[in-house]
């Protein structure tokens, strides 16, 4: 394996590695726009210049393969000077749009400018004006003036989505990104081009102007949109979630995610959530306290078990919850109630096994595998048709349903709710506020649950890879996890404030000074 020296640091890389990859391996900084590890090499931005000892001219790091014994640096005056002038060329026609540009704050051009900027431009000519606010279909807006023609988006549509919508038109300083004959950029992976755009030329319509990026915090989590389980970063503030972006995991999603997964922040936010427990039926609802509903639930279950046996109680689970929640709910049912009346609600059986060849799977639940593992462990094999028969025969006294977190992936929600309404008492646990659940015709208690953004746990993806999710925001205060429901039902007292008090930071000022201010 060839060895080389980068900025005085010895590094050994695999044969065929380019210099820029060696830089990345060392976590050494190098300026670049057009290079992207998930795409082919274009070598158009000329910013990743490095000096190789023995070579009279500077080379681009993205397209030069490391040879044994190379001595490379990118911190000499010569390199800095070259990068500075390269950047100045990129900025010749770049507009002063930063105040209204959504990329500001995470813009590569801004970052590099702060490091290498030629702060006093030497161009006397006016800037070339190009098209602004070009509508590229339902998801993306293009601003040609801001584009620095790195061609990342063009390569993405050629190599990854293989849809070839984008191209570079015209020549010289009039070159522009565009689609042929104004056709829209509509594929299931189109918004990835917004992520890889190093400037604000491509912006997402969904996120456009909603927040400045520096107001948002982010946490690493897993997309709950389908069983692929793409690794993502969710961006949020105290109001809720605002967007989802992919992060690299070569075993799961590479660098990308699908556009459907980007919508998975919407059902977390307050306007789509069930905000408090309520009781009623057929559109007539009264709000309730969490503790009250829990004790009603536990008495109803106890009464049903005592009078007619545990067969009268059933549980329906969907693949939208964490493995930990399944484990506690199943051990309550199997261990405490001695009942195996647990059924797996498959939300879309027709398209369940579909796969689009890249990332998106027909199984639109993050943890179907985790649920199946849990059911296997407890030896539960009851098919869905059993539940239908029992419900139609009026054999179910109490039905617990852990319903959808994201109702949009449940096409037959209304029909299922009318089926569940055949039980005498229905406990509908769901994070979402749905008309379908409100239309339940039997006596129903609705209990708000936490979404993936508010709890921790494990999702098992279609390959069986276990991935952790972590809590970010608290949107509905009284929302429960299934584990909390299970422990409340099995008689353990859950301290609803417990987690809050634990997370609260100690006020060191007051503690150290032994009193108030």
């Amino acid at each position: 394996m060839p060895k080389c020296k980068i900025n005085g640091q010895e590094v050994e890389v695999e044969a065929g590695t380019t210099i820029i990859e060696a830089f990345k391996k060392l976590d050494s900084e190098i300026a670049h726009y057009c290079y992207h590890p998930g795409l082919s090499v274009a070598g158009v931005c000329r910013l990743c210049m490095v000096e190789i000892e023995g070579n009279p001219r500077l080379q681009i790091a993205c397209n030069t393969v490391v040879q044994d014994g190379m001595v490379i640096n990118n911190n000499s005056e010569k390199v800095k000077e070259t990068v500075k002038w390269g950047l100045d060329f990129h900025l010749i026609n770049h507009p002063l749009d930063c105040p209204i540009c959504d990329q500001a704050g995470e813009c590569e051009l801004q970052i590099q400018y702060m490091k290498f900027g030629q702060y006093d431009p030497e161009m006397a000519e006016p800037k070339v004006k190009k098209n602004k606010v070009v509508d590229l279909g339902s998801k993306i807006v293009l601003d040609s003036e801001r584009c620095i023609l790195c061609s990342r988006c063009v390569r993405f549509t050629e190599e990854v989505s293989k849809t070839n919508e984008l191209g570079i038109f015209n020549r010289g300083d009039r070159s522009e990104i565009g689609t042929f004959d104004g056709k829209p950029l509509e594929n299931d992976y189109a918004v990835n081009t917004v992520d890889i755009c190093p400037v604000g030329a491509l912006t997402s319509k969904d996120f456009r102007f909603r927040q400045r990026v520096w107001y948002l915090k982010n946490k690493e989590t897993v997309c709950p949109g389908c069983s692929t389980g793409c690794n993502v970063k969710s961006y949020y503030n105290e109001e809720g979630l605002f967007r989802v972006k992919p992060r690299q995991n070569d075993e799961v999603n590479g660098y990308w995610m699908c556009d459907k997964g980007r919508d998975t922040y919407k059902f977390v936010n307050k306007e789509n959530r069930l905000l408090e427990p309520k009781v009623g039926q057929s559109g007539q609802w009264d709000s309730q306290e969490v503790d009250g509903v829990m004790s009603v639930m536990s008495t109803k279950i106890d009464d049903a078990v005592k009078s007619a046996g545990s067969d009268k109680v059933a549980l329906v689970l969907t693949g939208q919850y964490t493995s930990e929640e399944y484990a506690s709910m199943l051990s309550y049912f199997v261990g405490h109630l001695k009942s195996k009346n647990v059924y797996h609600w498959v939300n879309n059986p027709e398209s369940f096994d579909e796969f689009d060849g890249l990332l998106l799977r027909g199984d639109r639940n993050p943890n179907t595998k985790g649920l199946l593992n849990g059911l296997d462990q407890h030896g539960i094999t009851a098919p869905w048709s059993d539940l239908e028969t029992k419900l139609n025969a009026g054999d179910i006294e109490v039905l617990l349903v852990a319903g959808p977190e994201d109702p949009s992936v449940f096409p037959t929600l209304t029909e299922k709710v009318s089926l569940f309404s055949k039980a005498k008492n229905l406990f509908w646990m769901s994070a979402a506020k749905t008309e379908a659940a409100d239309s339940a015709t039997t006596k129903t208690w609705q209990i708000p649950l936490k979404t993936y953004a508010e709890k921790e746990g494990t999702f098992v993806n279609h390959k069986g890879i276990e991935q952790k999710i972590q809590p970010m925001v608290n949107i509905v205060d009284c929302a429960q996890t299934l584990s909390e429901v299970a422990s409340a039902l099995s008689g353990q007292k859950v301290d609803h404030l417990g987690s809050l008090v634990k997370d609260r930071k100690t006020n060191h000022f007051i503690n150290h000074h032994g009193g108030g201010l």
């Binding site: 930063c98 500001a104 102007f209 520096w214 107001y215």
Partner: protein, 174 residues
């Protein structure tokens, strides 16, 4: 800390000090009665002190030539604000040349510390601090100023024109 006292019995004679003080008060009062113009104290609120027009008081949102808001909703003022009293909601403008504009711009004037950072941060001269400094209100007064108040209140007589003009900049090739 202890009070320093002059030593000796003479320090206990306080009456001369009192009479000197009363004499000064009497002289000042008589002078003010016959010479009201030079009096330092004002009869507020009938008689008001004139500050310089450059005084940095209540905020003004400037307007363009057509009377619409100059603000582009870049949120730099809200970011710079140390009191966190500026709340902006941005939206897409139907005119692509404008692109982004605020649909709501609110300053909670009771939280504002009049530091002037918003004015300094603004890249397009959209928010300024005007010379108004008296904004009292009774209970129930809305101290959260909205666009209507900040840009078009009666005192501004139709709005203050911004110095930065997009069309001129466009013509100059910027």
């Amino acid at each position: 800390m202890s009070i320093v006292k002059k030593p000796g019995a003479i320090a206990n004679w306080y009456l001369p000090g009192i009479f000197a003080g009363m004499w000064f008060t009497l002289v000042t009062m008589i002078r003010n009665i016959f010479n009201q113009d030079k009096m330092i104290t004002k009869n507020y609120p009938e008689d008001k002190y004139e500050y310089s027009p450059r005084f940095k008081g209540n905020h003004v949102l400037t307007v363009k030539k057509d009377g619409s808001l100059r603000c582009t909703a870049c949120m730099l003022c809200a970011t710079a604000c140390p009191a966190d009293c500026i709340k902006i909601k941005a939206s897409e403008h139907e005119n692509p040349a404008v692109e982004k504009y605020p649909i709501s711009y609110e300053i909670d004037i009771l939280r504002c510390v009049y530091c002037g950072y918003c004015e300094e941060a603004c890249p397009v001269d959209a928010v300024r601090m005007g010379p108004e400094w008296q904004t009292p209100g009774l209970a129930g007064t809305n101290f959260s100023y909205d666009i209507q108040h900040l840009a078009y209140r009666a005192q501004l007589k139709g709005g203050v024109l911004s110095r930065v003009d997009d069309e001129e900049r466009h013509k100059a090739g910027i």
